[in-house]
């Protein structure tokens, strides 16, 4: 259990960074509460693995301090920081049995053998590894191996935080559900601080209470899954979260309306009042747009370009003026064949000025 604080952390892999671009992590200042489950979400190269390695101690940041429960651990190596890490591919000691693998961290710390045994059995039970304890670790399937990696972290009583670096990458899709569920159960049971790095929003949103969206080395937003879904602070968050992501359309603001190149729609007056000056975009999730055959206020004319059936709903791509956007219609709702009207509910329509949310 640990409260982890990152104080003005910045990191560059170059010895003499010249400009902002040389920094893999730019000015991160944040607190991770004790016992929380966090996800670091972003695409490749956004700095999430760098951030994870700074927290775990595998990397010393070029600037800033890392504090565990108020104690400065910036210069401490990983083994002194009470953390455990699970990597992208299973890291095992091939020559050892499953039991010995799980016992390894305890034996290295000179824990007496009786306690080692009971601890290992306890953790193996939780992870459904008990039947395999005497087998050679190298012979098991990928998901069992990842559980062993996880077990090595859980088996230590002094572990304050467990860090995960895209751990489900090598797992078969139909087994990912089970492992995600297991991770959630472990979180509830042990109350450890868990930090999970991924580029897959399903994993992030299922696993974490709070998600940290990273882009180009900077933290864009920290929030719960529904906060990120409903109120993205940045256009990147709107685009990244959701499958498909938020529709983002350039517009100008005139009075209480947003003027797109294909029509105009009313905005929430409170938001419109704070609009100010800048480059504007309208953001709305495909789920909230409504397709109809009749015009009405707040709707924009368009043409149906394609329809993709997704099982529970269909994604309709609509072209309007020179913009294209996607609408999600539930199963059973009729889809117009060619021309249509798309309604933008004002309470769901977000306004972004210079990429940032206006609220």
């Amino acid at each position: 259990m640990a409260k982890i604080e990152l104080e003005n952390i910045a990191h560059s892999y170059q010895p003499k960074p010249a400009s902002d671009d040389d920094f893999a992590l730019k000015k991160v200042h944040t607190v991770w509460e004790d016992g929380g489950a966090y996800a670091l979400l972003g695409s490749s190269g956004c700095g999430k693995t760098t951030m994870l390695n700074v927290i775990s101690g595998l990397l010393t940041p070029s600037q800033g301090r890392v504090l565990f429960d108020g104690k400065d651990v910036t210069k401490l190596p990983p083994e002194k920081r009470n953390i455990a890490q699970v990597f992208q591919f299973p890291v095992l000691y091939d020559t050892m049995t499953v039991f010995d693998n799980l016992a390894f961290p305890l034996r290295n710390r000179k824990v007496e053998e009786g306690e080692v045994k009971s601890r290992v059995h306890e953790i193996a039970e939780i992870l459904d590894l008990s039947p395999y304890l005497n087998k050679r670790a190298s012979g098991l399937a990928a998901d069992a191996k990842q559980k062993i990696s996880l077990g090595r972290g859980l088996v230590r009583k002094d572990v304050a935080a467990i860090l995960f670096d895209e751990p489900l990458t090598v797992i078969d899709p139909h087994l990912k559900w089970q492992l995600r569920r297991k991770l959630k159960e472990i979180h509830t049971q042990f109350g450890l601080t868990l930090i999970y790095v991924t580029h897959d929003q399903t994993e992030a949103m299922t696993f974490a209470d709070k998600i940290v969206i990273m882009y180009d080395g900077a933290l864009l937003q920290i929030g719960s899954p529904d906060e990120l879904f409903e109120d993205p602070a940045h256009t990147f968050v709107g685009y990244f979260i959701g499958s498909p992501g938020m529709n983002l359309l350039p517009c100008t603001v005139e009075g209480n309306r947003a003027v797109l190149d294909c029509g105009s729609i009313p905005l929430d007056p409170a938001v419109a009042a704070k609009a100010g000056q800048g480059e504007f975009k309208i953001g709305i999730r495909p789920l909230y747009l409504e397709l109809g055959e009749q015009p009405c206020d707040g709707a924009v004319a368009g043409r149906v370009v394609s329809v993709e059936f997704e099982g529970s709903s269909s994604i309709v791509t609509v072209e309007s003026g020179c913009s294209k956007f996607k609408v999600r219609t539930p199963e059973g709702r009729p889809v117009p064949a060619d021309s249509c009207w798309v309604y933008f509910p004002p309470e769901r329509t977000k306004l972004f000025r210079d990429q940032r949310l206006v609220k």
Partner: protein, 367 residues
């Protein structure tokens, strides 16, 4: 050009990778091979390309037997999961390589490479080496190299699986457009049912080396021939509950009863497996016939735009899918509703007996 596979078997060192595969591929059509890992998708693709020979059976192109023909003489292009490019050649040379091998004149090579590069947004990168590109760009180069050949058979073996989530979405959209413009047979393999649905076209469901069902994607989705097809072709997995049907009601073994209305009304009595898709469990009552289940939440999973609620009812774990992002806490009590008209019925032999009426306005495929 059509491709036909007759009773293909492939047995390697005693292991059956493919058994009794007979398929027909028509020009200009798109086919998606859906199956779990080790289902035999890659083996089948390799036989279609000519990289492997089947242990039994024939491959016919336009009626001609090409089973023994080496891959070099066939008109085939393939894209792999791992972004495979010639590491020492620039993007331009990579894309041009099949044309150069075929002896195409230089001016023609340039024209076709530029055209394909434009289609895949690779123009600014033409002079770079593959090592200098991101994963998405490398895969685009591999795809461009496959497209420039204008082969009659275009095979893609899970090409997007190693890419980031968002990149996968974007590239999939682009690929849809590209496939629509081709006159070749396009075969795309995947393990994800949602991806298969979005690509549309025709689908071939494979499981443990056998073909379970083929047909237009939406049709197979709405009428899975067996429980196995329904299982493979659903994500999250379809909920199966055994039920006993008598003259009046269907008694589900989890202790709730469904009235026999709609498509269930002429169901003969007996024991059946009822299949309910996760998005047919609702949190809101929709019709009078809905049956209510009071249960507690075990786990809620959120996937960007949807929430999956795992709940337990009388010892069975079931899954519900809901649009939008909702937060549920484990142990929270919810009411789950299910409509009889949404239920699939499978007999004890696992074959489909009844399927819900396909909604009249069911939109199919992409254009």
């Amino acid at each position: 050009m059509g491709l036909q596979l007759d009773f293909i078997d492939r047995i390697v060192e005693g292991e059956t990778h493919l058994k009794d595969v007979s398929l027909n591929f028509e020009t200009g059509q798109r086919y998606v091979l859906l199956g779990r890992t080790q289902a035999g998708k890659t083996s089948l693709l390799r036989i279609m390309a000519g990289l492997d020979r089947p242990s039994k059976g024939r491959v016919l192109a336009d009626g001609k037997d090409v089973t023994g023909m080496s891959v070099r003489r066939r008109s085939v292009a393939m894209v792999y999961q791992q972004f495979i490019n010639y590491p020492s050649q620039t993007v331009f040379d990579n894309i041009a390589s099949p044309l150069r091998i075929a002896g195409t004149p230089k001016a023609e090579i340039k024209r076709r490479v530029m055209e394909t590069a434009r289609m895949l947004h690779l123009e600014p990168l033409l002079s770079r080496l593959p090592a200098e590109l991101s994963g998405g760009q490398q895969q685009r180069t591999a795809i461009a190299r496959a497209l420039v050949k204008e082969a009659q058979l275009l095979l893609l073996d899970e090409p997007l699986v190693n890419l980031d989530y968002k990149l996968r979405e974007e590239l999939r959209d682009e690929l849809q457009l590209i496939f629509g413009q081709r006159e070749s047979v396009v075969v795309y393999t995947t393990t994800e049912p949602t991806e298969a649905l979005m690509l549309g076209g025709n689908i071939i469901i494979m499981h443990e080396g056998r073909v379970l069902q083929t047909g237009p994607t939406a049709e197979v989705y709405h009428r899975p021939a067996t429980t196995q097809v329904a299982e493979v072709f659903s994500d999250p997995p379809i909920n199966f509950i055994t039920a006993e049907v008598d003259d009046a009601k269907a008694h589900l073994r989890i202790g709730i009863d469904l009235p026999l209305t709609g498509h269930l009304c002429d169901l003969p009595p007996g024991v059946y497996k009822f299949g309910i898709r996760s998005h047919h469990f609702n949190l809101v009552r929709k019709t009078v016939d809905d049956v209510e289940i009071r249960t507690t939440v075990e786990l809620a999973e959120i996937n960007g735009s949807e929430t999956f609620v795992h709940f337990r009812y009388r010892n069975r774990s079931l899954v519900l899918q809901e649009q939008g992002v909702r937060i549920f806490k484990a142990g929270q009590e919810v009411s789950v509703f299910v409509r009889p008209c949404d239920v699939y019925v499978f007999g004890e032999d696992d074959r489909l007996v009844k399927a819900p009426q396909c909604p009249a306005t069911c939109a199919t495929g992409a254009n």
